[in-house]
């Protein structure tokens, strides 16, 4: 009732202070922590990296070496570096194209043709992404190497036609491995788009006299272009950032991530590594921009009052073709997984068939890799929990509070999603390695931070997608009922977005368990993880132990995904969208 009295200067002051303390600060505190984290561990390191890229390259010297364009000059005047750049571009572009060529028809077959076992196809179809990709790479050496069993079979089949299989080491191997690893992105998204499309749109076209092919060309395909664009971008970004596959089967065909790693680990030259990282970011950025330009004009909102089921192709020819096509793709993409499991029970497999059945590969794990096991699970689980908290809060801020600069916030959260893991590592090393005031190299902390920076986007995307669908009046109703912001957040918002948090977290956990491209530059003697151990065993040619470790990883990852899929309302694919 203070307003009834005339307020003096002093009175106004005290009431302002009073108001300040009456305000609901829980919101501010909750929001501030992830923002500060982003600023310190993402924006600052990225800034430092950009600065270092323009310093003079120097081995094992973290001090200021003087401004220079030497790093870029060296890159563009050395044949090997230029060739690596070319390799990177050729590999990622071809992988993207092949993924579209395989994924879209497969998505269409599963969504629109009457074939048995659709659900199984969809869930098996996601396996190649969630399996460690470099593990797949060395199995192709076993299968398609000079004495590989698959090579022998294919040569016997195709030899009379004059086709021979090129060497698995090099470009062919990289493109094959990455395509079989990443096509599920395109498959899953086009399957979703084809099966979710409004049947009425196509029926309307048919009633106006259009034939099937015409409808496909003018209605069906144009409508899936936005999702296809997003999936293609995802594949490109993954392919250009992949470290494991080129490191295992690239041979002397270097790509940008392997180059960054060798510049840093071989020469200790973080300035030159930064220059390459900046080039890598520029390419990714350009592709992202191009994708946005193409897709932006084609964002469609599906207007539908009623939803009718889409008619499936039912003629025998189409059904037979679709079933065989899907089966071949699936068998090929799951072959590595099967090979690993077989390999894990044998001493070696250099010829046609594995030799020397043994359980020693598993028995030796506690002794040889116990520490790595602990590290992997500890780091992945901790990072996942932190990602879940930060990702949901950040999603809540950008989606519900819509602060000024929300687009910028969104961009900086999503940036690590499209940045190669090696680039994120170089950024963290620039800021917190060498002579930095907070030296963190070789600690659990730097790995946790890198994992959080790289994986928060999963939970963030998944939750913001969920929040856009959630009517804000659900939260307003709580406020009206007298609840403070925090009460509403705890009792209404969080329970409602829980399925999204879970699916994002599962995606985070499963990918972190197999993380290699960031870890490879950041691990120390005490912080070795299972993927690092597998990678080293592969380099030592100890395939038996590598396979046993990989098999355990496969089982854990599969169990987590399976566990989540049997929960109602959670869907991994929402975390994959951009």
């Amino acid at each position: 009732m203070s307003r009834k009295y005339s307020i003096t200067e002093n009175g106004a002051e005290t009431s302002r202070i009073k108001k300040f303390f009456q305000k609901d600060f829980s919101q501010l505190i909750v929001f501030a922590i992830p923002m500060v984290f982003l600023a310190v561990f993402l924006l600052y390191p990225m800034g430092i990296t950009l600065v270092r890229a323009f310093w003079k390259p120097a081995s094992f010297n973290f001090k200021f070496t003087g401004w220079s364009l030497e790093g870029f000059r060296m890159f563009f005047s050395t044949r090997m570096y230029l060739k690596s750049l070319g390799n990177s571009i050729i590999v990622s572009v071809s992988v993207t194209l092949f993924c579209i060529l395989i994924g879209v028809p497969m998505g269409y077959c599963v969504a629109r043709v009457k074939i048995p076992g659709k659900k199984l196809l969809v869930s098996l179809g996601i396996l190649p992404i969630i399996m460690p990709s470099f593990v797949g790479a060395y199995t192709w050496v076993i299968l398609l190497g000079n004495k590989g069993v698959l090579r022998a079979a294919l040569n016997w089949l195709l030899g009379p036609l004059g086709i021979t299989i090129p060497s698995i080491y090099g470009m062919f191997g990289m493109i094959l491995c990455m395509t079989l690893t990443y096509f599920p992105f395109v498959f899953q998204m086009s399957y979703g788009a084809f099966s979710g499309a409004n049947a009425l749109l196509e029926e309307a076209g048919m009633l106006m006299g259009a034939k099937r092919g015409y409808i496909m060309r003018t209605i069906t395909l144009p409508l899936i272009i936005p999702s296809l664009g997003a999936a293609a971008l995802l594949v490109f970004v993954r392919a250009i950032g992949n470290f494991g596959i080129p490191a295992v089967i690239g041979g002397n065909n270097y790509v940008l991530p392997t180059l960054i790693s060798f510049a840093y680990q071989g020469d200790g030259d973080i300035n030159f590594a930064s220059s390459i990282a900046v080039l890598n970011v520029i390419i990714t950025g350009a592709v992202l921009y191009a994708q946005k330009r193409i897709v932006a004009k084609r964002e469609y909102e599906t207007i539908s009052a009623t939803h009718t089921d889409i008619k499936l192709h039912e003629n025998l020819g189409a059904r037979l073709f679709a079933a065989i096509f899907c089966l071949i793709i699936l068998v090929f993409s799951l072959l590595p997984q099967v090979t690993i499991i077989i390999m894990s029970f044998f001493k070696n497999w250099t010829g046609l068939l594995p030799v020397g059945f043994t359980l020693e590969n598993y028995a030796s794990i506690p002794k040889n890799s116990g520490k790595e096991m602990f590290n992997s699970f500890f780091l992945s689980v901790t990072a996942t929990l932190l990602c879940a908290v930060f990702g949901s809060i950040l999603a809540y801020i950008t989606e519900r509070k819509k602060p000024k600069g929300a687009a910028l916030l969104d961009l900086s959260i999503m940036a690590p999603f499209i940045l190669p893991g090696t680039v994120v590592s170089i950024a963290l090393l620039s800021a917190f390695g060498g002579n930095s005031a907070f030296k963190m190299t070789g600690t659990y902390a730097i790995l946790l931070i890198s994992y959080m920076i790289r994986r928060t986007p999963y939970v963030y995307r998944s939750v913001s997608a969920n929040l856009t669908q959630l009517n804000p009046s659900l939260e307003e109703a709580s406020t009206i009922s007298g609840a403070t912001w925090f009460y509403t957040f705890r009792r209404v918002s969080v329970p409602l977005i829980m399925p999204a948090i879970i699916s994002g977290s599962v995606m985070t956990l499963t990918t972190l368990l197999q993380e290699l491209s960031t870890t490879i530059l950041l691990y120390g003697p005490k912080t070795r993880t299972v993927p690092i151990q597998i990678y080293n065993k592969v380099l030592e040619n100890n395939l038996g132990q590598a396979s046993a470790l990989s098999t355990i990883l496969l089982i854990v990852v599969f169990a987590i995904i399976y566990g989540m899929n049997s929960r109602k309302g959670s869907d991994v694919s929402s975390a994959l969208k951009m």
Partner: protein, 373 residues
């Protein structure tokens, strides 16, 4: 505890100070009595929902004051205002049972468990859901009408000072809507909580509200009971928004102390209107509108005195009355007029020439300005 609600010069400007600024509420001042069921009515974008959300505190106002009773609540956060609100989408929590949905506001207020059970049971009886409460399902398992009742119960359970209803019937089908609006009035009268009801449906507003405020473009055009708004609309907009009104472009021929004589353009028909039904300051020669509701005009096949000729375009049977759409003269706009008759005129068919006459005691005169929505 029911309270009055009072607005003093309330203004709301979205994106203030920018090129895209929208003046959503312009100097809104009026008050709502204790225990009154008050309707905010107007076309979409008129500011009625903005005013409701500002009353709730979900939007801040740019200037002016709002009072609950004597307390200025303009800057009090919504969770301290002690109000109940029913949303258009109902906003029921899918992750809670109906009991927990209704109990939510009590849980927030840390009410002991036994009181929660007692109050929820009482309010569910009031809204007629005692049977459903025994099964206590998730709200998603209920029909639209039942969800509506849960939403009302949830807003009422903690005895709010003011109850706000934001287009609460928009998500229900036509028959249920008519039933629920009577239910809302019954429940409101039983609790006697001051209630603000927002709708764009004039029939709904007239049926449910003790008083109505008609909004247009952020301005309150008129406040009154349903009867006042229908029979004494203060301008052409209100006249045509509350019910239907036919307007004839006319001009003033002469004025006296008590009456005005106006002539309908191009017809030569003159009508004398008492000053009491003249809703505009007029002088000789002024352009005006003569307004007549469909039920105050008549069609007949015979020529009568003081009538204008027209051609029947469409005849619609609407149950209790028959609507004739008559094209009067291509030279005056609008071309067609709606005339309601109690019974079907056997000698009139679509395409026939007819005569339109006026019930002179009921027509009114308006200024031609701003009659559009």
């Amino acid at each position: 505890m029911s309270k009055t609600v009072r607005y003093e010069n309330v203004n709301k400007i979205y994106a203030e100070g920018t090129k895209n600024a929208v003046h959503a509420l312009k100097n809104v001042s009026f008050s709502i009595n204790e225990g009154e069921l008050f309707c905010l009515l107007g076309p979409s974008g008129c500011g009625k929902t903005t005013l409701l959300r500002s009353t709730a505190g979900l939007e801040s106002i740019s200037s002016g004051k709002m009072y609950y009773g004597d307390v200025d609540i303009s800057t009090i956060p919504p969770y301290k205002r002690n109000i109940g609100m029913v949303f258009q989408s109902f906003a029921l929590y899918p992750h809670m049972t109906i009991f927990e949905n209704v109990a939510y506001g009590l849980r927030v207020r840390k009410v002991p468990n036994d009181v929660v059970t007692k109050k929820v049971t009482e309010v569910m009886e009031l809204v007629g859901l005692q049977e459903e409460l025994k099964r206590n399902p998730s709200p998603t398992a209920l029909s639209g009408g039942q969800q509506q009742r849960v939403a009302i119960a949830r807003a009422l359970v903690y005895d709010p000072d003011v109850l706000l209803l934001d287009e609460p019937l928009a998500n229900l089908d036509a028959k249920l809507r008519r039933y629920m609006r009577a239910e809302i009035r019954r429940i409101q009268k039983a609790t006697n909580i001051t209630t603000i009801f927002v709708t764009h449906d004039q029939e709904e507003a007239m049926a449910v509200g003790d008083r109505l405020a008609v909004f247009r473009k952020g301005v309150v055009e008129q406040i009154g009971t349903s009867d006042e708004l229908y029979n004494q609309p203060s301008n052409a907009f209100v006249a045509n928004f509350i019910g239907k009104m036919n307007f004839f472009n006319s001009h003033i021929v002469s004025t006296t102390a008590k009456t005005v004589v106006a002539e309908i353009d191009t017809t030569g028909l003159r009508i004398e209107i008492p000053k009491a039904r003249c809703h505009a300051e007029v002088k000789e020669g002024d352009e005006v509108l003569i307004g007549g509701r469909p039920e105050h005009l008549k069609v007949s096949a015979e020529t009568t005195e003081k009538s204008i000729p027209g051609k029947v375009r469409i005849i619609q049977h609407l149950g209790s009355f028959i609507r004739y759409e008559v094209e009067i003269n291509k030279a005056i706009t609008p071309v067609t007029f709606e005339i309601d008759m109690d019974s079907l005129q056997k000698d009139i068919h679509e395409g026939d020439m007819v005569n339109v006459s006026f019930d002179e005691s009921r027509v009114a005169l308006f200024s031609p300005k701003g009659r559009e929505i």
